[in-house]
Symmetry: C2
Subunit: 328 residues, 2 copies
C-alpha cells in the first residue's frame, strides 16, 4: 500500500492470476494477449463498461460489491444479446494509495461472481493514476450465429415485457444516500442490494433467443431505454404505468416517499431485460421465464409512429419531464 | 466543452459512430454489445491496454497521436501473437472540461490508423471523471487455431531476433523532455515520432506463424522483455550488446549523450517484435522480413539455465542495474 505497494507484476501474481486458473486461453496472464475460442457456428459478443469512483460507485462501497457490479453490468449486456458468457478482460487504473486489502477484496468479489456466471479472467492491464479509481471491464460471450437479440427488430403490435421488478435500485440508491425514512431495515437492505448487485438475466436471454423481436437491459430506466428500441426499430410504444412490476419493498418505499410508480420508470440500474415479442408468443415467453425461475410482466404494446407514451390507470397519457414525471 | 459539453449520446453520434461504419458487428454502436465473427478454424485474440494522461502520455501531446498510440500499442500485442486485427472497443473517462476539438482530433487519429491497419470501432463506453483522461482500448484479432505465437515455447539453441531498431522511443522521450542537446532537428523528429507512434509489426507477426518458437513485443526494453520469454520458457538467454540494431538517429543521439547501446536495452516503447527460432530457420526468417519490408537482426541465443546475460564486444558479461547498466 501507499508508496511501497507492490508493482504491476506482483499485483497480478497475488490477486489476479488465480482468477485466470481454468481459462486456458488466458495463457496464465503471461502473454501479450489472450486466446478466445468460440463454439463452431457461434458469433462472439463483446461489450465494455467503465466505472469511476465517485461517479458510478460510492467511495465506501464494499470492494467485493464494486467488483461484482462491474462484472455484472457487463454480463447484463451479454444477457441482453442472448449470449452465454465466456470470459473477461479487466483494466484498472489504481490510485497510488490503494490498499492491498482493498484490491484483495475486489479480486475476491470477482472470484465469487465469475464462478456464479461461468466465466473467467482472460487478461487486461493495471496502471497507476493520480485520479480516482477507474475500472473498465470487457466481457466476451457467444451466441449461435444469427440468433443474437437486437434492439432494432421490434414491430408494431409486439407485446412489451420486462423481467423481475423495476425501480428497486433507484430506491436503494435513495435509501443509501439517506432520504427514505422511515423504512423497515429488511426493505432497505433488499433495495440497497438491488442497487449494489444487479442480477444479469443470462438464462432468460438465452431462453428468449429466436422467440422475441427486440431486447435490451434496463440501465437508465424503462422509459429512456424503451426509447432506444423505439428509435432503432422505427415504431412507437405505449406502456401502462399501473402494469409496472414493483417489488413489495419497492411499493413500501414509494409509499414512504409519497411517490407513485413513475419514479420506477425513470430510475436507473435495474438491469432487467426489457423486450418485445409477437402477441402469439405470450404464453411461450411466460413459460420460458418460469423455467429459468423469473417472472416477466407485460407492460404495454409497440405501436405505429414513434415515441414512448406512458398511460395512467385511466388510460390518459403522462408526459415525461426528467428527472420526474408530470401528469398533464 | 466545459459544462455544456454534449452528453454521451451526442459524443458517440458526432465522433465515434463514423468510426464504426463498415463494421456490421458494431450494430451502429446502438446495441448493448457488438458481434464479432471469426473466420472458420480461427481463434480470437484479445488484449487491452490503458493509458492515463500524465503517466502514459504528455498532457500536450497531439490528440491524434494519443489516439494512434493507444490503438497501436494494442495492435502490437496482436502482432506479437501473430494475429490479424479485426476491431476494437474504446473506453474513455473524459475530464469534464475536455474540449470537443480535442475529442474530434482524437477520433480523427483513430480513423486514420484503423484504415491503415484494417480494423474498426465495435463499441465501448464513455464516462466522465474528476481525474485525468483515462483511456482503455480492447483490440480483437484472429489467428488460425493452434498457430498463435507464444512466449513460453523458446528452446535452448534458438536464435534471438528483433525487428527494426531499438532504443529510438526512449531517446525520443528524452529529446521531448529536453535533455539531448545538440541534436539535429531531423534526428529529434525521427526519435520523437518513434516514441509517439509505434509501428505494430502485424505483417511480420503473421508471416512468422509456424516458423518461430516464441515472440513478444518489446514495451519495457529488450532486456526486461526477454526476461519474460526466459522465465516462461524455462531457459536462459545471451545477447550481444554490439549486435543491437540501432537507427542512425539513435546512434547519433547516444553519441550526444555519451551513452552506449546499453541505454537501448532498457529503454521502453520500442514495440518491435522480439522472437526466437531454430537456427535452421534463419534464412527463411530473414526472407520473411524482407517480404514485409522490415529488417530483423539476430542479437543472441537462447541457452540452458535461466536469466538474461548481456555480453560486451569482448564477450564479457555486463550486469544490469536499472535504469542504467554497469560494466563489471
Amino acid at each position: 500500500m501507499a508508496d511501497d505497494r507492490r508493482d504491476e507484476f506482483g499485483l497480478i501474481d497475488d490477486f489476479f492470476a488465480p482468477l485466470a486458473k481454468g481459462q486456458p486461453g488466458a495463457l496464465g496472464l503471461g502473454d501479450d494477449a489472450a486466446l478466445l475460442d468460440l463454439p463452431p457456428g457461434h458469433s462472439g459478443v463483446v461489450t465494455a463498461d467503465a466505472m469511476v469512483a465517485g461517479v458510478h460507485f460510492l467511495a465506501d462501497d464494499p470492494p467485493q460489491d464494486v467488483a461484482r457490479k462491474l462484472l455484472r453490468v457487463n454480463l447484463s449486456d451479454l444477457a441482453a444479446m442472448g449470449a452465454q458468457p465466456i470470459g473477461y478482460l479487466l483494466v484498472a487504473a489504481w490510485p497510488r494509495d490503494t490498499a492491498d486489502d482493498w484490491i484483495g477484496a475486489f479480486a475476491s468479489g470477482l472470484a465469487r461472481d465469475q464462478a456464479l456466471y461461468g466465466c473467467g479472467l482472460l487478461g487486461g492491464d493495471t496502471v497507476a493514476t493520480a485520479g480516482p479509481l477507474t475500472l473498465s471491464l470487457t466481457a466476451f460471450g457467444s451466441v449461435p450465429a444469427g440468433q443474437a437479440l437486437r434492439r432494432d427488430q421490434a414491430r408494431p403490435g409486439d407485446c412489451i415485457f420486462v423481467s423481475g421488478t423495476v425501480g428497486d435500485a433507484a430506491l436503494g440508491l435513495r435509501a443509501l444516500t439517506g432520504d427514505i425514512a422511515p423504512l423497515a431495515s429488511a426493505d432497505r437492505e433488499f433495495l440497497v442490494d438491488r442497487y449494489r448487485l444487479p442480477s444479469p438475466r443470462i438464462d432468460l436471454g438465452v431462453a428468449l433467443r429466436q422467440r422475441i423481436h427486440s431486447a435490451l437491459d434496463v440501465s437508465d430506466g424503462v422509459a429512456q431505454d424503451l426509447g432506444h428500441i423505439v428509435r432503432r426499430s422505427g415504431c412507437g410504444a405505449e406502456i401502462k404505468l399501473g402494469a409496472l412490476p414493483l417489488s413489495p419493498a419497492g411499493r413500501r418505499a414509494l409509499a414512504v416517499l409519497g411517490a407513485d410508480a413513475a419514479l420506477a420508470l425513470t430510475g436507473g440500474d435495474d438491469y432487467e431485460l426489457l423486450f418485445t415479442a409477437a402477441d402469439s408468443r405470450r404464453q411461450e415467453i411466460l413459460d420460458c421465464a418460469q423455467d429459468v425461475g423469473l417472472t416477466v410482466t407485460e407492460i404495454g404494446r409497440m405501436v405505429e409512429g414513434g415515441g414512448v407514451r406512458v398511460l395512467d390507470d385511466a388510460g390518459q397519457p403522462i408526459t415525461v419531464d426528467r428527472p420526474g414525471w408530470r401528469h398533464r
